[in-house]
C-alpha cells in the first residue's frame, strides 16, 4: 500500500509544490492540503512546507498556527502522526508548541541562501531513519529568521535526550544555539528543520540528492507499521 503524505498550503506557502514533488520522488502519494481544510483526507503523514505564511507578518508562523487544518495536525501529532516542518513549517511547529524553542532573526540580519553541510545526529525519528547516524549531508538553507533559540535548560534537555536531529557543520549560517539545524519531539514523530531537504532530491536542481532520505524515511516508517 502506498503511503499518503499531505503537504499543507497556507496563504504565502512557497515550497509546497517542491515538497509534493519530493514526496512523490520518495515513492509516496502526495496529497495537497488547504489551510482551511476540516479534514486531513486520510493522510498518513504531514509536511508543513517552507515559505512566508501570511507574509510572516506579526511573527513567523504565528498566524498559520491558528489555521483550521492546524487543529487537526496538532491533534494528530499528539497521537503519533508523523509531521515534518521545514523552515516556515518549523516556525509553525514551534508556535504550535509541538516543538520547543523559537526561530528568530539571523544573527547577521540578512536573509541567507547557501548550500549547508549538516550532520544527521538522530536516526530514530520518523523522518531520519533512512540516514546513517553521523552522516554528513549538503542541503540548501534559506531563511531570514532561522536562528534557533531556547533557554539553557531546554537546550540541555534536547541534547540529553538526543533530540537534536541535525547540526550545522563547518559554519553556522544564522547563529543558531549549539549549531542546531533541526530537532524532534520526545516521541520522534514531529521534526522541525531549518534546511530544505525538498531542494536536495536530485543533483539537477539542488546541490545534492542528500535530502531525499527525509522523505524515504517516513515512507519506510509508514509501510513498516
Amino acid at each position: 500500500m502506498t503511503a499518503r503524505v499531505g503537504v499543507v498550503t497556507f496563504p504565502g506557502s512557497l515550497d509546497d509544490r517542491d515538497a509534493l514533488r519530493a514526496v512523490a520522488a520518495a515513492g509516496a502519494e502526495p496529497v495537497s492540503l488547504w489551510h482551511k481544510d476540516a479534514s486531513l483526507h486520510g493522510v498518513d503523514a504531514v509536511v508543513l512546507p517552507g515559505g512566508f505564511s501570511y507574509g510572516d507578518y506579526l511573527r513567523c508562523g504565528a498566524i498559520a498556527r491558528f489555521s483550521p487544518v492546524m487543529d487537526l495536525v496538532i491533534a494528530g501529532a499528539r497521537e503519533g502522526l508523523p509531521v515534518l516542518g521545514i523552515c516556515n513549517g518549523f516556525q509553525v511547529l514551534c508556535e504550535a508548541h509541538l516543538l520547543p524553542g523559537a526561530l528568530v532573526r539571523n544573527c547577521h540580519l540578512h536573509f541567507t541562501c547557501t548550500d549547508q553541510r549538516l550532520q544527521i545526529e538522530n536516526t530514530s525519528t520518523a523522518w531520519t531513519s533512512a540516514y546513517e547516524a553521523g552522516a554528513h549531508v549538503v542541503i540548501p538553507i534559506k531563511n531570514g529568521e532561522g536562528r534557533f533559540v531556547a533557554d539553557v535548560a531546554t537546550l540541555d534537555q534536547l541534547e540529553a535526550e538526543g533530540r537534536v536531529v541535525a547540526r550545522y557543520v563547518g559554519s553556522n549560517p544564522n547563529g543558531s544555539a549549539r549549531d542546531i539545524g533541526g530537532i524532534t519531539n520526545a516521541a520522534g514523530n514531529v521534526v522541525g528543520l531549518m534546511p530544505h531537504p525538498e531542494h536536495a532530491i536530485e543533483e539537477l536542481t539542488g546541490p545534492s540528492s542528500d535530502g531525499l532520505a527525509f522523505f524515504t524515511s517516513v515512507v519506510k516508517a509508514l509501510v513498516s507499521v
Partner: protein, 755 residues
C-alpha cells in the same frame, strides 16, 4: 469650499473654462495641455488632467522614444514569424519554446524610486515586472536583476546598495520566485542615479495567453487585490519622468510601498482564475494605476467603459478622485469578466481572501466615462489617453566630446610587463568590485524555490526546467556595458546583446529572443537622444544579424543628476531554449585532467575595458569590435558541444578578459589549471583584452578530437590552453597563484565594503 462643490465635473469644466489648473506641477508642457483642450473641446476636469498627465508622461507614453522604437518592428528577423506569439506592445512579449509551452519575459527599470527609497523602490520594481508577466496569463517562474551603482566605496552606495538588495530579496523571496542571475556594476556615472532593472519570466501553455483588452459591452470590470492608498501618486510622471535635482528625498511619497504577501496570494488567485478561463481581458495596475488600466483596457477593446469610482476600495477614505486615479498602490489587477462568470470569479477571490470589486462596465460608446459622487468627472476618448499621446522627434547631436574620447586610446596606457606585475594585476582585477565574487548579494536571494533551477549565478546564465518529464528548459542572461556604450552607443548596445547571447549559448542553450531595458539621460538633451537612437539602431541591426527578435522592452529616460547624464546603458536580456536541461553547462572546471581550450580570436582591445577602468580610471578609445558572424559560430559550437556532451564546462569571456574567466572557472569548480598562453601574443593582451566572441571550455580527453572537429566545422579559432587539476592557477613560465589566495582576493571585497 465644501467638498460637494469641490467636485470638478464635466459640466463644471464647461461652465468654468478659465479655472487655473496645476498643469506644470503635474509635469505637462503647455503645448500638451493645449492639445488636451483641443481633444476635449473644453478644458479638462481635474480628474481628466490627472489621467492625461500620468498617461502622457515619458514613462507611460514613450513619447520621445516611440518613433525610434519602430525600428524593432521594421527590422524583424525571419525567425520572428516562427517563434513570436505576442510581440511588442502588450504587457510582455510571448515566445513559443516548443512542446506547447510559451514563455513570456520582460525587464523594467525602477531607477529613481530605488534612489529615493532603496528598499521599497527595488521591491516594487520586482513586484511590477512580475505582475506584467502574470497579466499575460503566465505563472512567473524566476526573476533576475541588473543593478548599477556609483563607486563601490562611496558613502551613498553604502546606503543604496544594501537597501536595493534587501528589497529585491525581501520581495522576490516572499513571492517564491528563484532569483537566477543578473549583474552588479559600479561606475561613477551612476552616483546619484543608480539603475535597478528587474526582469521576470513566466511560462504558460501556448493557448493560454491573456491580453489587455476589454471586449464585449456589458462585461464587468473587476478591480482585485490590494486596496487603493495614497502611495505612489504620480510616480510615473513626477518621479520617473523628470531629472533629479537636490530634492530627491522630498519625492518619497511618490514611491510605492510593496506587500509581497498580497502579491503572492494575488498570483495564485489569478492562476486559478486563468485555469478556469474566467477573464476576457486583464491588465495589472502599475505605473499610472487606474488611469492606465481603465484607459488601456477600454482603448484596446470595444472602446468604451463606464467606471463608478466610488466603488474602488480605499485604504484611505479621504483620497480625492484625482488621487484614486493616479495612485500607484501595488498588488492590484483589473479584469474584464463576462457577467455569467462574475460569481465564480468572486468566489475564487474569496477563497484566497483577495478583495474583489466590480468597478465598471464595458460599453460601446467609445468614451471612457468615470463617475464620482454621482457626477461625471471624466469623459474622454480612451485612445487619446492610452495610445495617442504626444510623439516627439527630438533633436539629436553627436556628443561634442566623443571624438576626443575615441582618440584617447586605452592601448597607449602603461601596461604590466613583468611576471610580478601581471600577477598583481590579475589579483587586483579579481578583487575589484565589478569582478569580485558577488555572493554577499546573491546569497540574499532564494535560488532554489520552485525546485526547477538548473543553473543560477554565478554561472553564465540562469537555467530553469520547464517540463520535468521531457526536461525541456529555458536559459536567460542579462547584460549591459555602459562604458562601451559611452564610447560608441551603437557598438555598446550590440556588445551587450552579444554578451547576453553568448552567455545563453555558454550555458548550453539556443538563443531565441530578446528583451531590452534602455537606461539613458534626459531625452531633452540632444546628445543623449543621439546616444539613444544609436543604441536602438545597434540593437535592431544586431538582432537581425543574430536572428533573435525583440519581444518588448522598457525605456528609462532622465537618468541624470543635474546636467550630467549616466553612461548610456542599454541592458539586454536574452532568452534561450535548452532541449534537455541535464546537458546545461556550468562555468566551473568539473574534473581533473581535462583540456582547456580558448574559442575565438583575441585582438588588442582595451577601450572601455575593466583593466583600463580599475588600474587607470580611464575611459577612452574604441570598444571591442563586434562580429555577429563570429558570435553565431561560437554559439553554434557551444550549443552543439553541450547537447553532444563533448564539454564539461564553458565560460564566456567578457569583462576582465581571459584572466578573469580562468579565475572564475577555477574558483567555481574548486580546481586549478595549468595554462600556456598562446604564443605570438603579448601575455598582457592574451590575459586582459576584452575581444568579443570568445569563450573557454573544458573538454574531457576522449572528446578532444570531436570537439576540435566541431570548432573547425564552424570556423571558430581554437587554441589549446592547458589542463585542469591541482589547487593553483598557473601560467606556465609566468606565475602561479594558489586558489586560496585567489579566493581570498575575490570573496573579500563585498563583505569588507558592506559588512
Amino acid at each position: 469650499m465644501s467638498s460637494r462643490s469641490a467636485i470638478d465635473s464635466v459640466p463644471n469644466a464647461l461652465a468654468t473654462p478659465d479655472t487655473v489648473l496645476p498643469v506644470t506641477e503635474l509635469g505637462l508642457k503647455d503645448d500638451e495641455f493645449a492639445r488636451i483642450k483641443e481633444i476635449l473641446g473644453r478644458r479638462p476636469t481635474s480628474c481628466e488632467l490627472a489621467m492625461y498627465s500620468v498617461m502622457w508622461s515619458e514613462h507611460c507614453s514613450y513619447k520621445s522614444s516611440k518613433i525610434h522604437l519602430r525600428q524593432f518592428g521594421e527590422k524583424v528577423p525571419p525567425e520572428a514569424a516562427r517563434i513570436l506569439l505576442v510581440g511588442i506592445g502588450e504587457n510582455a512579449g510571448v515566445v513559443d519554446i516548443g512542446q506547447g509551452y510559451a514563455v513570456t519575459f520582460k525587464a523594467e527599470s525602477h531607477n529613481h524610486p530605488s534612489y529615493v527609497e532603496p528598499y521599497q523602490g527595488a521591491a516594487t520594481g520586482v513586484g511590477g515586472i512580475v505582475r506584467d508577466i502574470l497579466t499575460m496569463g503566465a505563472r512567473p517562474i524566476a526573476v533576475m536583476d541588473s543593478l548599477r551603482f556609483g563607486p563601490a566605496d562611496a558613502p551613498d552606495t553604502a546606503r543604496v546598495l544594501p537597501g536595493v538588495v534587501a528589497g529585491i530579496g525581501g520581495y522576490g523571496n516572499c513571492l517564491g520566485l528563484p532569483n537566477i542571475g543578473g549583474e552588479i556594476v559600479f561606475d561613477p556615472s551612476y552616483y546619484g542615479n543608480p539603475l535597478v532593472n528587474a526582469l521576470s519570466v513566466g511560462v504558460m501553455r501556448a493557448d493560454g495567453i491573456k491580453l489587455a483588452t476589454a471586449p464585449g459591452p456589458g462585461n464587468q470590470v473587476i478591480l482585485f487585490g490590494a486596496r487603493t492608498g495614497g502611495d505612489g501618486i504620480g510616480g510615473a510622471s513626477v518621479l520617473a519622468s523628470a531629472t533629479f535635482e537636490a530634492e530627491g528625498q522630498r519625492k518619497r511619497p511618490s514611491v510605492q510601498v510593496g506587500d509581497p504577501f498580497a502579491e503572492k496570494v494575488l498570483i495564485e488567485c489569478c492562476l486559478e482564475i486563468f485555469a478556469e478561463d474566467l477573464v476576457a481581458g486583464i491588465q495589472d495596475l502599475g505605473a499610472a494605476g487606474l488611469s492606465c488600466a481603465t484607459s488601456e483596457l477600454a482603448s484596446a477593446g470595444t472602446g468604451g467603459m463606464r467606471v463608478v469610482l466610488d466603488t474602488v476600495p480605499l485604504r484611505d477614505p479621504t483620497l480625492a478622485p484625482e488621487e484614486i486615479l493616479m495612485s500607484e498602490s501595488q498588488e492590484r489587477m483589473c479584469a474584464v469578466v463576462e457577467p455569467s462568470k462574475v460569481a465564480r470569479f468572486l468566489e475564487i477571490c474569496a477563497k484566497w481572501d483577495v478583495n474583489a470589486t466590480v468597478i465598471a462596465e464595458v460599453t460601446d460608446t467609445g468614451r471612457l466615462e468615470i463617475f464620482w459622487r454621482g457626477e461625471l468627472v471624466v469623459d474622454v476618448p480612451p485612445r487619446t489617453v492610452a495610445h495617442e499621446g504626444p510623439v516627439y522627434d527630438r533633436p539629436m547631436s553627436r556628443p561634442v566630446d566623443l571624438d576626443a574620447l575615441n582618440a584617447d586610446d586605452a592601448s597607449a596606457l602603461p601596461r604590466p610587463s613583468s611576471a610580478a606585475e601581471l600577477r598583481a594585476t590579475l589579483l587586483l582585477l579579481a578583487a575589484s568590485p565589478n569582478l569580485a565574487d558577488k555572493s554577499w548579494v546573491t546569497d540574499q536571494y532564494d535560488r532554489y524555490v520552485q525546485g526547477n533551477t538548473a543553473l543560477a549565478m554565478p554561472d553564465d546564465a540562469g537555467v530553469i526546467r520547464i517540463d520535468a518529464t521531457t526536461n525541456l528548459g529555458i536559459a536567460l542572461a542579462l547584460d549591459g556595458n555602459g562604458r562601451y556604450a559611452r564610447l560608441d552607443p551603437y557598438a555598446g548596445a550590440q556588445l551587450a546583446l552579444a554578451e547576453a547571447y553568448r552567455n545563453v549559448a555558454a550555458s548550453g542553450a539556443r538563443p531565441l529572443a530578446i528583451t531590452d531595458c534602455l537606461n539613458f539621460g534626459s531625452p531633452e538633451d540632444p546628445e543623449v537622444m543621439w546616444q539613444f537612437t544609436e543604441a536602438i539602431r545597434g540593437i535592431a541591426d544586431g538582432c537581425l544579424a543574430l536572428g533573435v527578435p525583440v519581444t518588448g522592452g522598457n525605456v528609462s529616460f532622465y537618468n541624470q543628476t543635474g546636467s550630467t547624464p549616466i553612461n548610456p546603458t542599454p541592458v539586454i536580456g536574452v532568452l534561450g531554449v535548452i532541449d534537455d536541461v541535464r546537458t546545461r553547462l556550468r562555468i566551473g572546471f568539473a574534473s581533473d585532467g581535462e583540456r582547456i581550450f580558448l574559442l575565438g580570436a583575441t585582438g588588442l582591445e582595451f577601450g572601455g575595458s575593466e583593466w583600463a577602468h580599475v588600474v587607470h580610471g580611464h575611459l577612452g578609445g574604441r570598444p571591442p569590435k563586434v562580429d555577429f558572424a563570429a558570435e553565431r559560430a561560437l554559439a553554434a559550437v557551444l550549443c552543439e558541444a553541450a547537447s553532444g556532451r563533448l564539454v564539461s564546462a564553458a565560460h564566456d569571456i567578457s569583462d576582465g578578459g581571459l584572466a578573469q574567466a580562468l579565475v572564475e572557472s577555477c574558483l567555481r569548480g574548486g580546481r586549478g589549471v595549468a595554462v600556456t598562453l598562446p604564443s605570438g601574443l603579448d601575455p598582457f593582451v592574451a590575459l586582459f583584452s576584452e575581444s568579443a566572441a570568445r569563450a573557454i571550455v573544458s573538454v574531457p580527453n576522449t572528446s578532444v578530437p570531436r570537439f576540435a572537429e566541431l570548432a573547425a566545422h564552424h570556423d571558430v579559432p581554437l587554441a589549446s590552453l592547458g589542463t585542469t587539476g591541482g589547487a593553483v592557477l598557473a601560467l606556465t613560465g609566468l606565475l602561479e597563484i594558489p586558489l586560496t589566495e585567489l579566493a581570498a582576493a575575490a570573496t573579500g571585497t563585498f563583505p569588507a565594503l558592506y559588512g
